[in-house]
């Protein structure tokens, strides 16, 4: 059994966190991102008993990985 990640979500989503949420690598092909987003979203859809907060995080993760919103990225 793997150890669970500690703590809550980061205050600002980075590409790294977005990748973790969707279960893909950071620089994966956009098609793969859409596929992963669909899969994770189905599992957490609010209409099927998922939570709105997680759904919004999943959507944000997709946007960050597709470059629609600027991810926090590197501090340097």
């Amino acid at each position: 059994m793997r150890k669970f990640y500690e703590g809550g979500f980061q205050p600002a989503m980075t590409r790294r966190e977005a990748g973790l949420i969707l279960g893909v690598r950071e620089n994966v092909h956009p098609e793969k991102v859409k596929e992963a987003h669909k899969k994770v979203m189905v599992a957490n859809h609010p209409d099927a008993g998922g939570s709105h907060y997680l759904a919004s995080k999943i959507n944000e993760a997709k946007d960050v990985l597709l470059g629609k919103t600027k991810g926090g990225g590197s501090v340097f």
Binding site: R2, F4, Y5, E6, G7, G8, F9, Q10, P11, E17, L20, I21, L22, G23, K39, V40, V42, A43, N44, P46, G49, G50, S51, H52, Y53, L54, K57, I58
Partner: protein, 116 residues
Amino acid sequence: MAGKLIANLIVMGSGIIGRAMLQAYRKALDNANKTGVAHETINNIRRASKTMTEQEARQILGVSEQSTWEEIAQRYDNLFERNATSGSFYLQSKVHRAKECLENVYQKNKQDGTPP
């Protein structure tokens, strides 16, 4: 003769630079304390590292202040299972931590004798 002179200069120069660096470092620490930047940084690190707030935990599980523990446990089981089969491990972790956080809150309430 010349070699000795150069060596002397180098030793003296590095001593002066070293002292200046030390003073700059002290001054920077001083400034950080005065303006509260240091405080903020430490708080950020603490917040980001280990803990989840009760508010965030409730948002993640999608429960309100009035929810009973049974409701929370049910939501948790559901979300955890779903993310185990077709979600991501990261989200599963968040769901787990949220339950952990609320578990603490509800246990404390029980000991105090106040209804959840």
